[in-house]
Symmetry: C2
Subunit: 158 residues, 2 copies
DNA sequence: TTTTCATAGGTTATACTATAACATTCCAGC
DNA sequence: GCTGGAATGTTATAGTATAACCTATGAAAA
């Protein structure tokens, strides 16, 4: 991840979430909001039990449903994605647009970058149509080496 | 899934696996082969513990590593894919070509169709290049309604 | 031949992920 | 004030995956 003003990421996404929740008349309760804030702390993917631990520390309860219910809501609203490959969750960086999330997952440092790809890729859409399948949600995940880790592997003095 | 000669699917994939294993000098042992045969029995995705139960019934051992080791091998060789969304496994229907597996997963009947999509979609590849990310594997998963289930939902007498 | 090394498999235990089920609280609308 | 739905509290359990260590096998090196 390139250096950037992460405070800006946080404000931007949180504001948009707030706005969308109001617009859609959904209940953006304290625990839900706080879960999103925790996930927004970094662009890394966080496992459910990591989130739960944080929520517990902040007084929101210690039982698994606390985390999973918050996550269900946030995913439903499109504020959070699940990275299936990692069984972990990330705040969406493009909550203002409907999209097919696409993740670049580094097998070395496990960093996760969400890239901005349009709704369902054309090739998949074509295949789905041919099969009579109606796509409602889709996602893409790619595993490989991030820029930084690739540089390390290249280094002759490794 | 349309009606088809499934025995033909099985023979075709098994032969190709046999051939590729010999070519790559990897050890296609009885338990590995039998695990693939079990997964080939249908195009549905099977959970690891379902596979384990079958392997156990056929005398290959009852402990989780039995199944997970066989799956690790089969995935490594490209004979099997994991459907991340379902935490379940399917035999690859296109073992003769390197590809990005793409699955159409019905949210109603949980059927899984693997569609034949080329290596990493162009859009994702572009994004990855821009980020300096080297993709090694990628996959796509789409959730929605299969042809049959869509028909049912349409039915006025449902 | 004996040693060595790598791969596969056996076995036990445990960690991690997720949901079911039911009780309780809260609040908006009637 | 009653009522119904949404959110939360609480307990229990189901489901997924890996760690760790040990044994067997067989082919290559010494
Ligand atoms: Zn997103
Ligand atoms: Zn990395
Ligand atoms: Zn495939
Ligand atoms: Zn279906």
């Amino acid at each position: 991840m390139r250096p950037h003003d992460h405070g800006d990421c946080i404000r931007r996404v949180l504001d948009e979430a707030e706005r969308r929740a109001a617009e859609d008349r959904v209940n953006f309760t304290p625990v839900r909001r706080h879960a999103l804030e925790i996930l927004l702390e970094s662009h890394a993917a966080m496992p459910a039990y990591g989130l739960l631990k944080r929520l517990d520390a902040d007084g929101f309860g210690s039982q698994p449903p606390v985390a999973y219910r918050a996550l269900d809501f946030l995913i439903e609203q499109g504020f959070v994605h699940k990275v299936e490959r990692l069984n972990a969750f990330v705040a969406c960086m493009y909550p203002h647009e409907t999209h097919t999330p696409a993740f670049l997952i580094c097998r070395n440092c496990r960093s996760v970058a969400e890239t901005c790809v349009a709704p369902t890729p054309a090739a998949l859409l074509r295949e789905a149509r041919a099969a009579g399948f109606a796509i409602e949600r889709s996602m893409m995940e790619a595993e490989g080496l991030c820029r930084d880790c690739a540089r390390e592997e290249d280094a002759p003095c490794d």
